[in-house]
């Protein structure tokens, strides 16, 4: 039993933080958010994209025998937290944390020249692969609308991993997918509605192999989203504290008032007790831990957003402060993978079935 990260894990997170400190400040985000069209958005993000590509994280979660780094989710969770802290617009977490290992699973289950080549192209070349898990019919997952699939950053991808149900995991070229741009409340999430055409996929896995691959992908995505929410919440807390020191009323910093202090202290309590849950979920990927992580992180980020906006007063309700980028990302992420509601319900149902025992009982 040792619940500490190792040096390598911490250093990797630190190097991402350094990069994002240089290239993903509020002003950088604002430039991207103000972009009028896709090309100018890409221009606004170009330097950061190039730097991210140099980080050496490509294939981080792909098994070493398939050309990846062979890391686990626990090695990646601090990186996801950093991506959240910076409200990173690029899909680093969606690609390296979810899509790449899913693609590797597909290639493993259905070896074939085209799939293999795609894996190489995405690992070595600059091809971008994204995945969107099917919304299972019976599960309490609330999708945007029946039969629709939304995916952020889809406009930039060359390949997609999709399925009409959990029994199907298919690899498509972007040219075979129809995308419709949809606006997100988060101006940095370039959202598209995805429609499967009748085209034959490049590679296909069906049955239980597909189902278990999707299940693993969902767990990774849920944990890593929770980690991003943790990072977003921590950042919003920092922004709120900084503003409370700077803003003066009645001749003193508003942060010297207990009402403000206690509100932000409570945010910290929420964040710090979500943190070990997220880390334990990343280390074990146990379904109950993963669901718990999703709920705890969503609640903590929500509390952080709410308190941070309140501390900013009228400024908090304005487009002018950068706080909005972090709050809006948190609200968007909190609804993914079934959202807080589905995860909480899953926990409650486990409880009713008598499955929630303390780990030691």
């Amino acid at each position: 039993m040792d619940f500490t990260f190792d040096e390598e894990q911490r250093l990797a997170a630190q190097s991402l933080r350094d990069l994002l400190t240089d290239h993903c400040q509020g002003s950088d985000l604002r430039r991207a958010a103000d972009a009028r069209d896709l090309p100018s958005f890409e221009t606004a993000c170009a330097t950061r994209r190039a730097r991210l590509a140099e980080l050496g994280l490509t294939g981080a979660l792909v098994p070493a025998e398939q050309g990846g780094l062979g890391l686990g989710v626990v090695d990646f969770v601090l990186l996801a937290e950093e991506a959240g802290r910076a409200a990173l617009p690029e899909p680093l977490i969606d690609v390296e944390g979810v899509a790449h290992p899913l693609l590797a699973a597909l290639v493993w289950a259905a070896p074939g020249e085209l799939g293999d080549r795609t894996l190489q192209e995405t690992l070595v070349g600059s091809a971008l692969v994204l995945s969107a898990a099917p919304a299972p019919g019976a599960a309490p997952v609330r999708s945007a609308a029946p039969g629709t699939t939304m995916l952020a950053n889809a406009a930039f991808a060359q390949y997609f991993l999709l399925g009409r149900s959990d029994d199907e995991l298919a690899l498509y070229r972007a040219s075979d997918i129809s995308l419709t741009h949809r606006e997100s409340v988060d101006p940095l999430r370039r959202l598209s509605e995805i429609a499967l055409t009748e085209t034959k996929p490049i590679a296909l896995v069906t049955g239980s192999a597909a189902a278990s691959a999707w299940q693993a992908a969902r767990a990774r995505s849920t944990v890593l989203n929770a980690a991003q929410l943790l990072g977003l919440g921590s950042r919003m807390l920092e922004i709120a504290v900084a503003y409370s020191l700077e803003r003066k009323q009645f001749g003193k910093a508003i942060g010297s008032n207990q009402a403000v202090k206690h509100s932000l202290a409570d945010v910290m309590v929420k964040l710090e007790f979500a943190r070990p849950v997220v880390y334990a979920a990343a280390a074990t990927l146990a379904p109950v831990r993963v669901a718990h992580a999703a709920v705890a992180a969503a609640d903590a980020a929500d509390r952080a957003a709410r308190a941070a906006i309140q501390v900013h007063g009228a400024m908090g309700y304005s487009w002018e402060v950068d706080l909005q980028f972090y709050a809006k990302r948190a609200w968007a992420l909190a609804g993914l993978n079934g959202g807080r509601s589905a995860q909480f319900l899953a926990l409650h149902q486990s409880l009713l079935r008598g499955e929630l025992e303390a780990q030691w009982a």
């Binding site: 932000l264 910290m268 303390a358």
Partner: protein, 399 residues
């Protein structure tokens, strides 16, 4: 080493050993409340029993009757302890607050004088800190211990001293420099509670029992040898104690995980009855399970960090807020589920009619609820903890 949430074979073996001993030795019937004369002595005997199995202070070094367990091993022991609903620790403050303080600041003579008797339950210790005008603002304390030859002469009034009604000794903070103010001029002195000049008067709590007391000192004399650490060093020693108390060892996660488990059992049983349960309460039950788990995971994380050489800081205040609110929330949910049964007082034993059983069950939850109301107050009120977090961790200005 990367994160590894599996127990080692050694940890499994410790768990098995603790489980076997506890199952063989824990009293079959719950002991009477340690806030009664009879219950206090029954709990003292339990401390002695624990000591005979070397389970009374597992984190203490072996030379003082402990097992030298690390914090993760302590968590495992506590999990086993709460698993069998073993009696509350009447010497809690001695074991977790005074003992570690003495080991760090006491002389070898003081250690051999106090630690063995503390370990065996021969001496039960109470904390003697607060005063009528010095609660959250502890540095406002006024009780003096003025040196007279080889003695200190103590005068003043202490209050809210837990277990002091029947305890043998108190450890406290006194003003040894009568002209001093605030944090200066304080010393950490231990006082026998049955000695001339010391009057202990119980204060009935919400449950009607005298779980805490006020203590009047009128020219009470204690030897200078009863001072722990240097004269005037009391505040920093006391703050070290406060760190232990709020930090990790006052409330182990197992306690709350066990309560959460009981709440879930209650909820599942009642959910099968005809009368539906308010969905808000149902959600609270799930939230309580989550929070008890979160506290456990957080404590394992902190313990791992401490074992790796880190120190306890802000998490002390975060912990205090989190577990005290969780405890309150769990008991409130249970009372909501019990509905009209919640107010019933039982006679213990749970024998006979269904109503007697229901009354005993309700009493356990109600007594737990009443005690949980104290959680956000003792060991530094939660408002003070929030100030500490805001000022010392978040860097917000003092108000």
């Amino acid at each position: 080493m990367a994160i590894d949430l599996q127990y080692t074979p050694r940890q499994h073996a410790l768990r098995a050993e603790a489980r076997a001993w506890l199952e063989a030795n824990v009293p079959r019937e719950a002991l009477p409340s340690y806030d009664t004369a009879e219950g206090f002595e029954a709990h003292r005997r339990w401390e002695s029993k624990l000591h005979s199995g070397r389970w009374s202070m597992v984190t203490w070094p072996q030379e003082y009757g402990g097992r030298g367990l690390d914090l993760i091993e302590w968590l495992i022991f506590e999990e086993e302890y709460y698993r069998v609903d073993a009696p509350g620790r009447v010497n809690q403050n001695g074991v977790f607050l005074f003992g570690p303080t003495l080991m760090e600041y006491g002389t070898s003579e003081q250690k051999s004088r106090f630690l063995p008797r503390l370990a065996s339950g021969a001496d039960i210790w109470a904390q003697v800190w607060s005063e009528p005008q010095a609660g959250s603002d502890l540095a406002a304390l006024r009780t003096t211990a003025i040196r007279d030859g080889d003695d200190y002469v103590i005068n003043g009034h202490k209050i809210w001293s837990t277990r002091a009604v029947y305890a043998d000794w108190g450890f406290g903070l006194f003003r040894t420099d009568g002209a001093s103010e605030r944090h200066r001029g304080l010393s950490y002195v231990v006082v026998p509670l049955r000695t001339p000049g010391v009057t202990v008067r119980g204060i009935p709590q919400l449950d009607g029992e005298s779980g805490f007391a006020e203590i009047f000192f009128e020219n009470a004399r204690v030897p200078v040898a009863n001072r722990i650490g240097d004269e005037g060093q009391g505040w920093s020693i006391a703050m070290a104690t406060a760190g232990f108390e709020r930090g990790l060892m006052l409330r182990s996660p197992a306690r709350f995980q066990r309560t959460a488990q009981r709440l879930i059992e209650l909820y599942r049983r009642e959910a099968q009855q005809a009368a539906p349960i308010d969905p808000g309460v149902a959600a609270t039950v799930t939230q309580c399970w989550m929070d008890a788990e979160a506290y456990a995971l957080s404590t394992y994380m902190t313990a791992s960090r401490l074992i790796a050489g880190g120190s306890i800081g802000a998490e002390a205040s975060l912990n205090k807020i989190f577990w005290s609110e969780l405890d309150l929330s769990m008991h409130r949910a249970a009372l909501a589920i019990l509905g009209a049964r919640a107010e019933l007082r039982g006679l213990g034993g749970g024998e006979g009619s269904a109503l007697a059983k229901a009354a005993d069950e309700a009493t356990r939850w109600m007594d737990g609820f009443l005690f949980s109301l104290a959680g956000p107050i003792y060991a530094g009120a939660n408002e003070i903890q929030r100030n500490i977090i805001a000022e010392r961790v978040l860097g917000m200005p003092k108000g």
